[in-house]
């Protein structure tokens, strides 16, 4: 029974993760992430971590994802940018490095004998146990996280409210500046930098 | 009894007073001149009281920074007294020239020149490594300020180059001094006597590099040309005349006695560098387009030659090197003052804009000719006497070395003759013809003439000098010479 659940859940998790990464539309990606979170929650339940699984659903799916969806909706179609158009060897290197990490971890995981799984009583993973750990052994971490969250909230507000709200679609932006214009501006600034650098070294050389 | 400390204190105090109180130019100038003349008089007094064979004299030895074992230990032997005397003379002349040249913010410039003098005295008289370091590094501070404030158009770059070079060298030396001082048996002790023979190769080279940069010895001479070109004439005179001698002096009076074994072991290296530098500087002096460039490279050549003389580790070499230090100090300081005077009159030190100045200017012609002939070591001049001793020493160690450096003297003739005729002879340039500069007279002449007269005096009887320093020079190299089995 467990094994079936495991394989179904993990298959869902992997598939939805691929969807998150591969989808062009961020809205679809966000929905796929929801599926991913749910699958992970199932896997966590298999590991008898009920509280974490619940938190996963409530905090992530309930709060974080909503925020995501709001922003995606706010940004609109401009958020839709396809996969990286980069030098092929960089793509290859990226994939290679990632796969290498995966292979290495898997080799380690299956190569090392973890030994017998500890036996646990029914209390394991319950909200009571976790809550006790949080406010006793890990109180400092708990408080730090709350402070970080608070600061992040302030930062979010600051970022989100500054600047001049201009509503332009991606097309408009592109039309206004254009890829080539961006490139040209970049060239110009680099040339100016080079010139400044040359003049300083040149002077000292004399 | 008046000791060397007094001699160091007088210009230092005068410098502080001049720096703090904004005297008018004339007042500041005459005050500074008076102080330097008094110092010169004091030095002459020391020379009269000096006993040539009695080793270090007029000493003070009191605790200075007790926890570190640093002591204020100053004393002079013949070599250091000679250097102190020439420093006092050149400082006086430089002050005279500065007064004549009417620098802006003069009181500060006079103060800094006096401060340089005080630090140089400390370098020449220090018998404690820490005090020596204070002098060696401290003299750069006023000199750099003088260079960067009163220098020529590219003075900032020149100053940076000097700092880049000297900072590198003196940092190494500071480490070496700390090592020697803190590892002394029986607690920290920076006295030079206590450091004799305790150094290893690394410490030796740390000192040697610092001294070689200051001298300047051949491959480390890059800062010389910009600095000598950009400094105002009186600063260039002090810089090339005596500040650079601090390096050569330190080779002779600090490095060789403190590290007899290493000095003997690596003498070949310094002899080789000295020979190369001598030829190198002479050849390059021959191609410089301006008066200062020629003097700068001739200084490099001469200083390399002096280092060569020191590392011969023989009587002839050491006495000759000491004598040559004094002679070259006088010659190069006077040459810089003459070139500087020309620049103030013609507005350029470049040969293309000079020439033909001997006509109607007998004093300038005579002074330049005497100096030029001294610089190329015409036989009979005091420079000839000192070069003769060094070359004889070189010949005594290896006959081919003596022959090579003797041939280098021909190169000296080539570049100095070029210097003389480019300034004095041939046709007048358009610029010099239009400006029609006057003859050398009064203020500037008074600043240059003492140097010329002392040179002539030394030429008449060089033995009066060598007899006084011979014993001291011998004492400085004797330990290293003993290592060599000579």
């Amino acid at each position: 029974m467990d094994i079936v659940v495991f394989f179904v859940a993990s298959g869902c998790a992997i598939a939805s993760a691929i969807a998150v990464v591969a989808q062009k539309n961020p809205f679809v990606s966000a929905l796929a992430l929801l599926a991913n979170l749910a699958s992970l929650a199932a896997l966590m339940l298999l590991l008898e971590a009920q509280f974490v699984a619940a938190a996963q659903i409530i905090v992530y799916a309930g709060a974080v994802m909503v925020m995501f969806l709001f922003v995606i909706a706010y940004v609109g179609p401009r958020g839709e940018i396809g996969g990286g158009v980069r030098k092929p060897w960089l793509v290859a290197l990226s994939v290679f490095a990632a796969l290498l990490i995966a292979v290495e971890v898997i080799v380690v995981v299956f190569g090392a004998s973890l030994g017998a799984v500890a036996s646990v009583d029914t209390d394991y993973g319950s909200p009571a146990a976790i809550g006790k750990a949080l406010v006793t052994d890990y109180l400092l971490a708990f408080e730090v996280v709350s402070v970080i969250l608070f600061m992040a909230a302030v930062a979010g507000v600051v970022f989100g409210t500054g600047g001049r709200p201009v509503r332009l679609s991606t097309e408009q932006v592109l039309a206004k500046e254009g890829e080539s214009a961006v490139a040209r501006r970049r060239e110009a600034s680099r040339a100016a930098l080079d010139a400044a650098r040359d003049s300083t070294t040149g002077e000292s050389a004399r | 009894m008046i000791t060397i400390s007094t001699l160091i204190a007088v210009p230092a105090i005068a410098a502080v007073v001049l720096l703090v109180i904004p005297f008018a130019r004339q007042a500041a100038g005459y005050l500074a001149l008076l102080v330097s003349l008094a110092v010169l008089g004091g030095v002459i007094g020391f020379i009269y009281r000096f006993e040539p064979v009695a080793g270090y004299q007029f000493s003070d030895n009191i605790s200075w920074i007790a926890p570190l074992g640093v002591r204020w230990h100053v004393a002079v032997n013949g070599v250091s007294l000679a250097m102190i005397a020439v420093t006092a003379l050149i400082t006086t002349c430089a002050l005279g020239f500065a007064l004549w040249a009417k620098r802006d913010r003069s009181h500060a410039s006079f103060a800094l020149i006096l401060m340089t003098e005080a630090f140089l005295f400390l370098v020449f008289a220090a018998r404690d490594l820490f005090a020596f370091y204070v002098g060696f590094e401290g003299m750069l501070i006023p000199l750099l300020v003088l260079l960067v404030v009163w220098g020529g158009p590219s003075r900032k770059v020149a100053t940076l180059q000097v700092i880049a070079y000297t900072a590198f060298g003196t940092l190494l030396m500071l480490l070496a001094i700390l090592y020697l001082g803190l590892t002394a048996p029986g607690g920290p002790n920076f006295d030079m006597e206590a450091a004799i023979g305790r150094g290893n190769d690394w410490v030796f080279f740390a000192f040697a590099i610092a001294f070689a940069i200051k001298s300047p010895l051949f491959p480390l001479h890059g800062w010389v040309l910009p600095a000598y070109r950009q400094a105002s004439p009186e600063v260039a005179a002090v810089l090339s005349g005596v500040a650079s001698k601090a390096g050569a002096f330190a080779f002779l009076a600090v490095l060789v006695p403190l590290f007899p074994a290493q000095s003997e072991q690596y003498a070949w290296l310094f002899i080789a560098l000295g020979t190369i530098g001598f030829l190198w500087g002479s050849l390059l002096a021959f191609r410089q387009p301006d008066g200062r460039g020629v003097v700068a490279y001739s200084s490099i050549a001469q200083m390399s030659f002096i280092v060569l003389g020191i590392f011969l580790l023989s009587d002839r070499g050491a006495t000759g090197a000491t004598f040559q230090m004094v002679n070259h100090a006088l010659v190069s300081a006077a040459l810089f003052l003459v070139v500087g005077w020309l620049e103030t009159q013609v507005g350029s030190g470049y040969f293309a804009q000079l020439g033909g100045l001997a006509r109607r200017r007998p004093v300038l012609a005579t002074v330049s000719m005497v100096l030029g002939m001294a610089a190329l070591a015409v036989p009979g001049s005091s420079v000839f006497a000192s070069e003769f001793l060094i070359m004889l020493g070189a010949f005594e160690s290896h006959w081919w070395l003596g022959a090579i450096v003797a041939l280098g003297a021909v190169l000296a003739a080539m570049y100095m003759l070029r210097w003389i005729s480019a300034i004095l002879h041939d046709r007048e340039s358009a610029l010099a013809g239009t400006l029609n500069p006057p003859d050398l007279k009064q203020g500037a002449l008074m600043a240059i003439l003492p140097l010329v007269l002392v040179l002539i005096g030394l030429s008449i009887a060089p033995a009066q000098f060598t007899d006084r320093v011979d014993a001291s020079a011998h004492a400085l190299i004797s330990a290293a010479a003993k290592e060599a089995g000579r």
Binding site: D2, A13, A17, I18, V21, Q23, P26, A30, N36, L43, M44, L47, E48, V52, A55, Q56, Y60, A63, V64, M67, F68, V71, Y74, V75, R78, G82, G84, R86, S94, V95, A97, A98, I101, V105, V109, F110, L114, V117, A118, S119, V120, A129, A133, D137, Y138, V145, I148, L149, A152, A155, G156, V158, F159, G160, G162, R164, V166, T170, V173, V182 | -
Partner: protein
């Protein structure tokens, strides 16, 4: 307990890799943030799995902390995205190169 802990860890590694590939290859800041979430969740899974292996609650607490930090990171990240949008900047990380040396 019939499913071995290593299997969980293997799944975690695969998820982590997928997320990493997303971070490395996608240009849209939104997608990158989502991919980051995948990576964080993968790590959370392994934390929980290890926690189960040793039978303590430490790993789970750690997973909760990670969640908190992830939330904070999302807030900041999304705030940046919003700020970029308001300044009518192109939502493309390759165009954000003021760090260019």
């Amino acid at each position: 307990m019939s499913v071995g802990i290593p299997l969980f860890l293997g799944v975690s590694a695969i998820l982590f890799t997928i997320g990493l590939i997303g971070v490395l290859l996608r240009r849209s800041p939104l997608t990158i943030l989502l991919s980051l979430e995948v990576m964080l969740n993968a790590v959370n899974l392994s934390l929980v799995a290890f926690s189960r292996q040793i039978g303590g609650s430490d790993g789970q607490v750690f997973a909760l902390v990670v969640m908190g930090i992830a939330a904070a990171e999302v807030v900041v990240g999304l705030g940046l995205v919003v700020a970029m949008t308001r300044r009518s900047m192109v939502l493309d990380t390759d165009e954000l190169r003021t760090l260019n040396g």
